[in-house]
């Protein structure tokens, strides 16, 4: 397939996933801080949590450059609507749709229609409507649009090379998001103890909710919410589709599938990086990450995810090799 098409399909997957993750994170973070502020009668209570959210989104500096304090309306408008923020939900959906439009011949009509529908719906959203009481509904719509898109993709697109690039994009994005969210809480892990303080318990519920893991965790890890258990689950679960280990394993599988289709057996490249990382996540015991080792570990994971992304670009999108 054309390198340009592979690249567009990959970014289409990444941006749809990013829109969903961003919408979910914002929704959960806002609800968490509102409740926190309400129960403690302390307007500044959730400030640091919202700041952490901006860190997770990699948007702290950009936000600070245009806005002073961290307050809900400005923050929501920035994260959802701001066209100058390339990672705002609106920008993500627009970018995903631009990519889809450039490769419409390589994706199914159903996929295009789904993405186009989501895009057109964004134009009906006005800041005033959104910011009064519409944020939750909006975020839910975005999550649904992404999930519908991914379901339609699964059901209508041949599971061949372009599909594998799209999946690579989705899972790389998803694994990265979960790893960053977890990293933002790694510092709280040590001090959290057994959740004696209610706002600490609340914080870890919210963490689970921000990656849609609350119900899955309760079912798969009986015994209630415990910080160490939550962190282990989100990092190492082999079954939960938004855990870091799950995502990396999928990325590894997708890249392997691409190389199998291309008939190329590489000694080095993004597939090898992904394979090594997947193995590491599979055989790491969470006990080894106690005593402050979690954050450095996550930092290394994020670096390797970047390395995989760069490798995919170098090997598949910028290739100039002549086929035999």
């Amino acid at each position: 397939m054309l390198s340009r098409v592979a690249e567009s399909v990959y970014w289409m997957g990444r941006y749809v996933e990013r829109a969903e993750n961003t919408a979910r994170l914002l929704d959960v973070s806002l609800r968490f801080t509102r409740e926190l502020a309400a129960s403690y009668h302390d307007g500044s209570g959730g400030d640091s949590d919202l700041r952490l959210m901006l860190q997770v989104l990699g948007a702290e500096e950009r936000y600070a450059a245009h806005h002073g304090r961290i307050a809900e309306p400005e923050l929501a408008a920035f994260v959802i609507l701001d066209p100058d923020n390339p990672d705002s939900v609106v920008s993500c959906i627009s970018t995903a749709r631009d990519n889809a439009r450039a490769v419409r011949e390589s994706i199914s009509t159903e996929m295009w229609e789904e993405l186009n529908r989501a895009y057109l719906a964004l134009h009906r959203v006005t800041p005033s409507l959104l910011l009064i009481d519409g944020i939750h509904d909006f975020c839910r719509q975005i999550r649904l649009a992404s999930q519908l898109f991914q379901g339609v993709t699964d059901a209508t697109m041949p599971h061949d090379e372009p599909w594998h690039f799209l999946q690579t994009g989705i899972h790389l994005e998803r694994a990265g998001m979960t790893a960053r969210i977890l990293a933002s809480r790694a510092g709280h892990l040590e001090q959290a103890g057994m959740l004696v303080r209610p706002e600490e318990a609340h914080r870890w519920f919210s963490l689970l909710r921000s990656v849609s893991a609350y119900e899955a965790y309760l079912r798969l890890r009986p015994g209630g919410v415990q910080p160490v258990g939550v962190a282990e689950f989100l990092l190492l679960s082999r079954d939960f589709p938004r855990s870091v280990a799950f995502g990396v394993q999928r990325v590894f599988g997708e890249i392997e599938a691409i190389d199998r289709i291309l008939g190329i057996n590489r000694r080095q490249g993004p597939g090898n990086t992904a394979g090594a990382l997947a193995a590491r996540l599979r055989y790491t015991s969470f006990d080894d990450l106690a005593g402050g080792a979690l954050l450095p570990f996550l930092t290394a994971v994020l670096q390797q995810l970047d390395q995989i992304g760069n490798g995919v670009r170098r090997v598949y999108f910028e290739s100039a090799v002549v086929a035999g």
Partner: protein, 464 residues
């Protein structure tokens, strides 16, 4: 739909009966659904001059335009004849130039035309076919005569609207089809694919075919993508292609892959910065060399612009007689050239009754409509003509026939034209009908989508 005296045309009785049962609300309801479908499918065109590449819907009129089978048979025969003649003309002007030696067309008009491509002289194209894909615009005047308005044998667009209009009509207005025999158009992509395969370079057994687009900001991008999807071939941009050793490759995840046939939707002069305009960033350096070497087929051929030149148009009936020994099946609009002294005299005498056109512009640009202009406008146009006589022409104004359209809550007649699409592979074939463009502004004769025109589904009725 209506004949003389407002009587319903016999072929349209069933259709008329359905619309008769619709009130305004029903029309509006169907229109809303049709527009929502176009929007959802992303069937839009890009407006130039808007830096963000805004996408707009082309207005769609819900009332199909009906062409009775016998009338279509005439159009079809006329277009096939015309395309064969134009194709022979192209081969001739780029080889023996008999047509010039025999004095059928003044040599200066051909060799001095902007569409004449001197690089093509002596180049042999696969199977001698230049005009693989044509859109010949046909109108009917008030007397019912079928006239060719213009030839488009470079990169005519609009076929995607033909197919999508039909698709939307079957979805939104299924009740229209009861009791009628409408000939299908949906097989066009398969016909196109077999045309493209037919002209692959000799030796390419399973040819790799691609469509070359200028990119998403081109006004016809939807169509490029649509055709690639319907044929299952890659849609490439110039930056995806490279030429090495006179062969064309596309950059893939596997490495460089050989390309055999390029259906290009890029103009001649920006195809290859090494051979044509050097400032082209959309083209592929070396492409012309690969083409001339016979290693890749370009569809349509390079240099076709001389065949659909608005000045050469005046001579097409002569070309048909010269190359085919036949009388033209279709008429055409009387055309006057400033280069011909008696024509120029006529133009000066009748300026207020004529339509003036630039020979090298299309889409309704560079036009002056005599009856709707002031004396000053005409005088300045005549001055431009005298300064550059090869660049302009004048034509008799014609009254286009009208078709019923839904406008402002009622049905009114609007001027229409017809662009049937013809493919030249093993033979010249047409899909029944074509793109009906309609001037939705009352009294307007300009049907181009860039100037506020709309489209209709076009029905050829009766069994072929």
């Amino acid at each position: 739909m209506f004949g003389a005296g407002g009587a319903v045309h016999p072929g349209c009785a069933a259709l008329h009966a359905v619309f008769d049962g619709w009130d305004e609300a029903e029309f509006e309801r169907r229109m809303a659904r049709a527009n929502a479908t176009f929007q959802q499918l992303g069937i839009t065109f890009t407006v130039y001059g808007d830096s963000r590449g805004a996408e707009r819907l082309i207005p769609f009129d819900p009332i199909p335009r009906v062409i009775p089978g016998p009338e279509w048979a005439t159009i079809e025969a006329g277009i096939r004849q015309r395309i064969r003649a134009l194709n022979l003309f192209l081969h001739d002007v780029y080889h023996e130039r008999r047509v010039l030696a025999d004095g059928v067309i003044p040599t200066a008009l051909v060799l001095g035309g902007a569409g004449y491509q001197r690089h093509m002289a002596g180049v042999d194209v696969p199977r001698g076919i230049y005009t693989h894909i044509s859109g010949i615009d046909v109108i009917r005047d008030v007397d019912g005569r079928l006239l060719v308005l213009e030839d488009n044998v470079r990169t005519p667009s609009g076929i995607s609207y033909v197919l999508e209009n039909r698709d939307v009509t079957t979805r939104i207005m299924p009740d229209l089809f009861a009791g009628t025999t409408v000939r299908p158009v949906t097989h066009y992509p398969e016909l196109l694919l077999s045309t493209l395969r037919h002209v692959a370079p000799a030796g390419a057994r399973d040819p790799v075919i691609v469509i070359l687009t200028p990119g998403v900001f081109n006004s016809a991008y939807f169509e490029h993508s649509f055709l690639a999807r319907r044929m299952g071939v890659p849609l490439v941009e110039g930056r995806d292609l490279t030429v090495r050793d006179g062969r064309v490759y596309m950059r893939t995840t596997r490495g460089q892959e050989r390309v055999d046939v390029i259906y290009r939707r890029i103009d001649d002069d920006i195809l290859d910065p090494l051979a044509f305009r050097t400032d082209s960033i959309l083209g592929v350096p070396g492409l012309f060399f690969a083409y001339r070497s016979g290693n890749v087929t370009l569809v349509n051929a390079i240099g076709n612009g001389i065949a659909d030149d608005k000045v050469i148009y005046r001579f097409v009936p002569d070309l048909i007689r010269y190359y085919l020994g036949e009388e033209p099946v279709l008429g055409q609009v009387e055309t006057y050239l400033p280069l011909v002294p008696e024509d120029m005299h006529f133009i000066e005498q009748h300026a207020g009754d004529l339509v003036f056109k630039s020979a090298n512009e299309s889409g309704g640009y560079g036009m002056l409509i005599g009856p709707q202009s002031t004396r000053d406008q005409r005088d300045s146009y005549l001055a431009r003509m005298r300064a550059n006589p090869r660049g302009y022409l004048a034509q008799r104004t014609i009254s286009l026939s009208r078709a019923p359209c839904w406008v402002d809550g009622g049905i009114e007649g609007r001027h229409v034209d017809l662009r049937p699409f013809a493919l030249y592979g093993e033979d010249v074939v047409l899909i029944p009908g074509g793109l009906t463009r309609v001037a939705l502004t009352r009294g307007s004769l300009v049907v181009n989508s860039s100037q506020g025109g709309g489209t209709k589904d076009t029905w050829v009725t009766g069994n072929g």
